[in-house]
């Protein structure tokens, strides 16, 4: 299933790529975790859009904090 594939890609990123850049996310859960959860919950299209919106908010001009999908 494509949904599973997307989530696996995110998990791969979390394991092997994310460590390179160190911790940077202003939220809990992190943006990648949020993306995985929201794709699980809303499906690929809506879930991805929500994840993109989350990443866009993850910058010094937004407060951050706890934010679940």
């Amino acid at each position: 299933m494509i949904k599973k594939l997307f989530i696996n890609v995110i998990r791969f990123y979390q394991k092997y790529i994310s460590p390179i850049k160190g911790q940077s996310c202003r939220f809990h859960p992190t943006c990648s975790e949020y993306a995985a959860l929201s794709i699980e919950k809303y499906g690929i299209i809506k879930g991805t859009l929500k994840a993109i919106w989350r990443i866009l908010r993850c910058n010094p001009f937004f407060k951050g904090g706890v934010d679940y999908p």
């Binding site: 394991k15 092997y16 460590p19 390179i20 850049k21 160190g22 911790q23 940077s24 996310c25 202003r26 939220f27 809990h28 859960p29 992190t30 943006c31 990443i55 866009l56 908010r57 993850c58 910058n59 010094p60 937004f62 407060k63 951050g64 904090g65 706890v66």
Partner: protein
């Protein structure tokens, strides 16, 4: 169980990384070999092949690619004129441009193909083969005055006067007057395929009309004719071009294949005309100056800058290049410009502004509560993170820069790579000490190794509990170092500067947390 799983993953990761590296080196080797072979083929073919004459109403243009051409000029009877950045050489045989050397890049814009086949920019090719031979294979009388050189040819029927003026901006003003050639078609040999400067760019004919830019590939088999309102035409590669622009424009350009992946551009001209040749690098600011000059002189927008092709990632590359160029105008060193740009990007993208410094002070006040949380949730890092984030949000202070600034690095990285690969400004652009060319790899691998070290240090600073994860990070630092070894040093410089700035930022954050 967990441990085993981890080891398996590590193995897979190693295998994948090794496979990638090996296949990359194999592929690149294959390509280099391919190139070398191609060049060989080319020279072999050029000796045999002759151009097919252009079939056209009212006559055809024959380049006379034969022994006669090669024997006509031994390139001994030559006049050299110094330019601002090198020299131009003219042959008294035919009054042609046989060399255009640029000291900055240590390159002759007139290619090897021209020299071995004795076919040069500045030739006048006619629809009458005998006249073509006369105009290009006979000795002209020449006269030099300052930066102006005139060539005369006169026999009972034909009279030709070519005057070239070498200008400070690297252009060569061309003024051609003929008598007795009214009944034949005339064309000016504008360019011969330049030596390729590698991938990432177009090699071949380039034609600018009043509406668009037309690029034609070198691997054509038949003569291509372009009829339009043509402002200038010629040959280009990624970094350099050989063009002719005629005052008032011309209507027809012919592109003649002469050998494998080699073409000649002919611009059809009236019996007398005024124009200019440009044989030189595609420097953004210089091409802008020349365009402005002719905007005033001829009242036409030549838009020479459109010859600079930023390629597929141009949408990212061009604005970054303009920004870099702007900084360069102040610092006069491309390496320094990259560093300044990196710092500027950090300031924009990362919370090092007044507001976040304030936030950091608040962080110091939060320290006791943080300690409490750390003790309380020592066994549940997930929950601990959640609580800490809650605390930050409540206090309005967050030391993390966020994911967006990190992600924004990727397009900037690609854009910088693009700029380093396609702009002539960064070719041979020295930085300092041992870095002589920012678009080439670091010859002693100092920058990549420093970059790897900066990554390791970064891991030391960020507290992570998982041993395996730390191991992965060290491996990644190694893989990155290897990957960056063959990257352009300008790119590594950017990444290294960025890492160091990140380190400084982490240290500041850590300190404010401990207070």
């Amino acid at each position: 169980m967990e441990q085993q799983d981890m080891q398996k993953r590590l193995m897979i990761f190693f295998a994948a990384a090794a496979l990638l590296l090996i296949s990359f080196s194999l592929v690149s080797q294959y390509f280099f070999k391919d190139n070398a072979q191609n060049e060989k083929n080319q020279t072999q073919q050029t000796e045999k092949e002759a151009a097919a004459p252009i079939k056209q109403v009212g006559g055809s243009y024959d380049l006379v690619l034969s022994g006669e051409r090669v024997n006509a000029d031994s390139l001994k009877d030559i006049v050299r004129i110094k330019t601002k950045e090198g020299y131009v050489e003219f042959s008294n045989i035919g009054g042609r441009i046989v060399s255009a050397f640029d000291n900055r890049y240590n390159i002759d814009i007139v290619p090897e193909f021209s020299k071995s086949n004795k076919i040069f920019p500045g030739e006048i090719i006619t629809t009458d083969t005998n006249i073509t031979k006369l105009l290009n294979f006979s000795k002209y009388e020449s006269k030099i005055k300052d930066n102006k050189i005139s060539f005369y040819l006169k026999n009972e029927n034909v009279e030709v006067e070519k005057t070239y003026t070498i200008n400070d901006d690297n252009t060569i003003t061309v003024d051609i007057k003929t008598k007795g050639l009214e009944n034949v078609g005339l064309s000016y040999l504008t360019g011969v395929t330049l030596k390729s400067e590698g991938d990432f760019g177009h090699d071949g004919p380039i034609i600018k009309t009043d509406r668009e830019i037309i690029r034609i590939d070198n691997d054509i088999n038949t003569i291509q004719t372009i009829r339009d309102k043509i402002l200038w035409a010629g040959q280009e590669n990624k970094y350099f071009m050989q063009i002719l622009s005629v005052k008032g424009g011309i209507n027809t350009v012919y592109i003649v294949p002469v050998a494998k992946d080699t073409t000649v551009v002919l611009s059809e001209i009236p019996a007398s005309f005024e124009g200019f040749n440009y044989l030189g690098p595609k420097l953004y600011s210089l091409l802008g100056e020349i365009t402005d000059k002719y905007q005033k002189l001829w009242n036409v927008d030549l838009d020479l800058r459109s010859s600079i092709d930023f390629g597929f990632f141009g949408i990212l590359g061009k604005p970054l290049f303009l920004l870099l160029h702007f900084i360069y105008d102040f610092v006069h060193n491309w390496g320094l410009a990259i560093i300044v740009l990196t710092v500027l990007l950090r300031i924009v993208l990362f919370p090092l502004n007044h507001k976040s410094l304030k936030a950091m002070k608040k962080m110091a006040d939060l320290a006791p509560e943080m300690e409490k949380l750390k003790k309380k949730y020592a066994k549940d890092p997930q929950k601990l993170r959640e609580e800490i984030m809650k605390l930050y949000a409540e206090a309005g202070a967050n030391p993390m820069s966020g994911c967006l600034p990190i992600l924004a690095q990727i397009p900037i990285f690609i854009a910088l790579y693009n700029v380093l690969m396609v702009t002539v400004e960064l070719k041979n652009a020295p930085f300092m000490l041992w870095i002589k060319d920012l678009s080439d790899k670091d010859p002693y691998y100092v920058l990549p190794i420093l970059m790897g070290l900066s990554m390791v240090v970064q891991q030391f600073i960020t507290p992570i509990s998982d041993k395996n994860q730390r191991m992965i990070m060290y491996i990644l630092a190694g893989v990155f170092t290897f990957m960056f070894m063959n990257f352009p040093s300008g790119l590594v410089l950017y990444w290294l500067t960025n890492n160091i700035l990140g380190l400084i930022q982490s240290v500041i954050v850590n300190k404010s947390m401990k207070k």
